[in-house]
């Protein structure tokens, strides 16, 4: 046994050379004074200097070398499955894992305890773990990582997995499973996790032996983060985490059955460029794919170069600056009048990383009746799913937009300036409607006003997460985002309870940035337990609770479609949110008058190291407008009538 290394080795090797137990450990004091073990840091630092011939370690930890290609050898180390999981996460550069322990994952928790490279965040409910990982993923672009136990741990995580799946957020969820021999026997805390999660993951795995753990995890991250991102579940039986196997970080990953397209087809791009340039009433409609694909730059460049109007979906906000004059607002059910009207009348629609969701389309038969459609998407199944398109381009939005920029410049067709001018005039006419206006002089706090003030107080620079309901729509309408990955919400699944844990995940990614969670009194209690986790890790999230004492979005539908029959939408017996926040060790504020809104926000954001829960008592009767009626056409919008 020994670590035989030749000098040409990459840095990876240095990570696999050292023992995880026996003499390789030292005890380090933990933050809370509890003693913890960590990987020995010192030898790692000197590792790259080349330690060929270094004597083998003693104890039960073994290393070996194997040839890798002609000129290199790779050193492997023998570890338990649990140690492989933790070591892999470290080698893969994972900083945080959000989790909750239980029987099936105790070996992994023990391995976590013995190191300090990967920090475990102890949530208070597994749903919270998934949303935190999701929030972290959406602002960083890297997979969020979750660790939960078998049975109820896994089922509690399902809502968050489905949430990530619907919004294409990259996530790796490690679930414990009963030992291999017990699988299928209705063992204690056994659920068919792979079966339960199959319809709401991008892919999932049941790991059969410790030897395949590292490769499986490597694949899981690759699948989660590449192509159209999504959650991947890795289910690991407890005995697999106890078995020993040789470990080495799998530097490469190749899957014969999974190869996301890396470039758009040049012919399609050329065709699209010609169509785009020939438009008389063009419209650019972009979605979450531009955010996920980090393609804001080429999008902004192309849009400015063309001078065309642009709208974003709820998921795409921030990909194009929300304060830019070419931006006509969000489209869809609660989108602006001008955005929906322009969609309806356009003759060329350029859809980019958006999936023609029913909240955007309404009745497919009435959607964009005059338009020829270009659609850029990395997922072929998003194309022509509900709306037939004319020029599909499959591939990553970033490289396609870059190619498209060149192609538009080279195209023989040129936009008709006069036509474009007339088109803008028409759009300005719709804009003059001022469809987002609301009553200013009210005695009651208008929810829109709170968000406008939040925007002012944070200078538009905050990361904003939201829950689901009216408050979510107001956040989208009244907090313009000038940058991508600033706005985090559950659009596809619409998961109440998402906002707070997501904000915490964002705060982990950006500890010093202002992070606001816009929520409602209905949604916030669905993951309220995470206030406790926020205390433990001192996360200074600012909770903006728009408290209308109603499941407002439900009440609004009941008002519009059920003749005001408020069936179970009034929320009786609400908690005293100030005391609630205080009981978790946070700062609570009750705000009841419009005049106090700004002051409260300023005070809250001045408390830079505290979580502040602001309970704004808002006008109960306020509705979200415009409102495109579900299943109707784009022009069937209900607008606000003001006295």
């Amino acid at each position: 046994m020994g670590a035989f290394l030749v000098p040409t080795l990459p840095a990876i090797i240095s990570r696999t050379r050292f023992p995880l137990n026996g003499e390789g450990f030292r005890t380090v004091p933990a933050v809370d004074g509890r003693a913890r073990c960590g990987y020995l840091a010192a030898p790692l630092a000197g590792a790259d200097a080349g330690l060929a011939g270094r004597p083998a370690t003693t104890g039960d930890c073994r290393t070996r070398s194997r040839p890798a290609g002609r000129t290199r050898e790779v050193s492997q180390v023998e570890l338990t499955g649990a140690e492989i999981v933790v070591r892999f996460l470290k080698d893969h550069g994972v900083r945080y894992i959000f989790g909750y322990p239980g029987g099936a994952v105790l070996h992994i928790y023990d391995a976590l305890y013995k190191q300090k490279d990967v920090e475990h965040i102890l949530v208070r409910h597994e749903q919270g773990a998934t949303h935190m990982a999701d929030g972290y993923a959406r602002v960083t672009g890297r997979a969020g990582v979750v660790l939960v136990t078998s049975g109820p741990g896994a089922t509690n995580a399902v809502t968050g997995i489905a949430t990530a799946h619907m919004d294409s957020a990259p996530m790796v969820v490690i679930t414990g499973q009963v030992p291999r021999h017990a699988i299928g026997s209705d063992a204690f805390q056994e659920v068919d996790c792979v079966g339960i999660t199959r319809p709401c993951v991008k892919h999932n795995y049941l790991v059969k032996d410790a030897g395949s753990l590292a490769r499986t995890l490597r694949e899981a991250f690759y699948v989660a983060e590449s192509g159209r991102p999504g959650p991947v579940v890795v289910d690991i039986p407890k005995d697999v985490t106890a078995d020993r196997a040789w470990y080495e970080y799998p530097a490469e990953v190749a899957l014969r059955s999974y190869n996301p397209v890396s470039r758009g087809h040049p012919n399609q791009i050329r065709q699209a460029a010609d169509l785009i340039a020939s438009a008389r009433r063009p419209m650019i409609y972009t979605g979450g794919g531009v955010v996920l694909g980090d393609a804001s730059e080429p999008l902004v460049e192309l849009t400015r170069m063309l001078g065309y109007p642009i709208t974003n979906t709820l998921m795409g906000l921030g990909a194009y600056p929300g304060t830019d004059p070419q931006f006509v607002g969000m489209l869809g059910m609660h989108g602006t009048y001008e955005a929906n009207m322009a969609m309806h009348e356009c003759d060329v629609l350029i859809a980019v990383g958006a999936r023609f969701d029913d909240r955007v389309v309404g009745d497919p038969k009435k959607f964009c009746p005059h338009a020829r459609i270009v659609h850029i998407d990395i997922d072929p199944s998003s194309i022509s799913k509900t709306i037939q398109v004319d020029v599909p381009i499959v591939g990553p939005v970033r490289s396609i937009l870059e190619d498209l920029l060149v192609a538009v410049r080279e195209s023989n067709s040129r936009p008709d300036e006069a036509a474009l001018g007339a088109w803008w005039k028409r759009i300005e006419g719709w804009r003059a409607n001022d469809c987002l206006r609301y009553e200013r002089g009210s005695e009651l706090i208008k929810p829109q006003y709170v968000i406008e003030k939040l925007y002012e107080v944070t200078g538009g620079e905050a990361f904003v997460t939201s829950d689901v309901g009216q408050h979510q729509m107001w956040a989208a309408q009244f907090y313009p985002f000038d940058r991508p990955r600033r706005w985090v919400n559950s659009g596809g699944l619409g998961t109440m309870g998402f906002g707070l844990p997501a904000a915490m995940g964002v705060q982990f990614a950006y500890p010093d940035a202002p992070v606001a969670c816009i929520t409602g009194e209905g949604s916030i209690v669905m993951c309220i337990q995470e206030l406790s986790c926020a205390k433990q890790y001192r996360l200074p999230v600012k909770v903006v609770n728009l408290n209308n004492r109603y499941l407002g979005m439900v009440r609004q539908w009941q008002e519009v479609m059920y003749e005001n029959r408020e069936s179970e939408s009034y929320l009786d017996s609400l908690p005293d949110f100030v005391k609630l926040a205080e009981s978790f060790g946070h700062v609570g504020m009750l705000v009841e008058r419009p005049g106090d809104v700004e002051g409260a926000l300023r005070e809250a954001f001045a408390l830079e190291d505290r979580l502040v829960f602001m309970d704004f008592i808002t006008d109960q009767s306020e509705n979200v407008y415009p409102m495109m009626m579900a299943g109707k056409g784009q022009t069937d919008m209900v607008l606000r009538e003001l006295a």
Partner: protein
């Protein structure tokens, strides 16, 4: 329109469930499905018969393709192909059916595999329509069991589905 879609699948325990689950989750129609390992034991070949308008079939093939376990896929109905299905059918061999059944079996080029306890087991291969026609031709009352493999197919000539 009737379609025959054939694919190479990772030979993993969950792979079949992913394909079947996709059809039930998205409300697609599945008429028959057959699956078995190929010459390369890490891969299975799965063939399924389905139907739907062009837009539905396009979504079905795209969604199948998206499954990480699906290696390659072809809609055989898009070009020339050979289709076969195997049927084992157990029928009463007593009068008045005995002669009729033997006669029909001959016409359809089936084979009587077993004669026991007053029943025949007949083997028949062919395209789905042929098997349907055989079943239709038999008197319903004489049929005891129908066991069909599900359709499978392979492209003609240069059309090959290989990893």
């Amino acid at each position: 329109m009737q379609r025959l879609i054939s694919m190479l699948l990772e030979n993993e325990p969950g792979a079949l469930a992913r394909v079947a689950g996709l059809f039930s989750a998205r409300g697609y129609n599945i008429e028959s499905l057959s699956v078995a390992p190929t010459e390369d034991s890490t891969m299975s070949r799965l063939t399924l018969a389905t139907s739907g308008d062009d837009a539905v079939i396009e979504q079905i093939t795209k969604q199948l393709h998206k499954l990480v376990d699906v290696i390659k896929l072809v809609d055989l109905t898009d070009g020339p192909f050979v289709e076969r299905e195997l049927m084992l059918i157990k029928v009463r061999a007593s009068d008045p059916w005995r002669n009729e059944v033997r006669h029909l079996t001959e016409i359809f080029r089936g084979r009587i595999l077993d004669v026991a306890g007053g029943s025949f087991v007949i083997e028949l291969t062919g395209a789905r329509q042929k098997l349907d026609a055989f079943v239709d031709a038999l008197d319903e009352k004489c049929i005891l069991e129908v066991v069909r493999s599900g359709a499978m197919g392979v492209g003609r000539g240069d059309r090959s589905l290989r990893a």
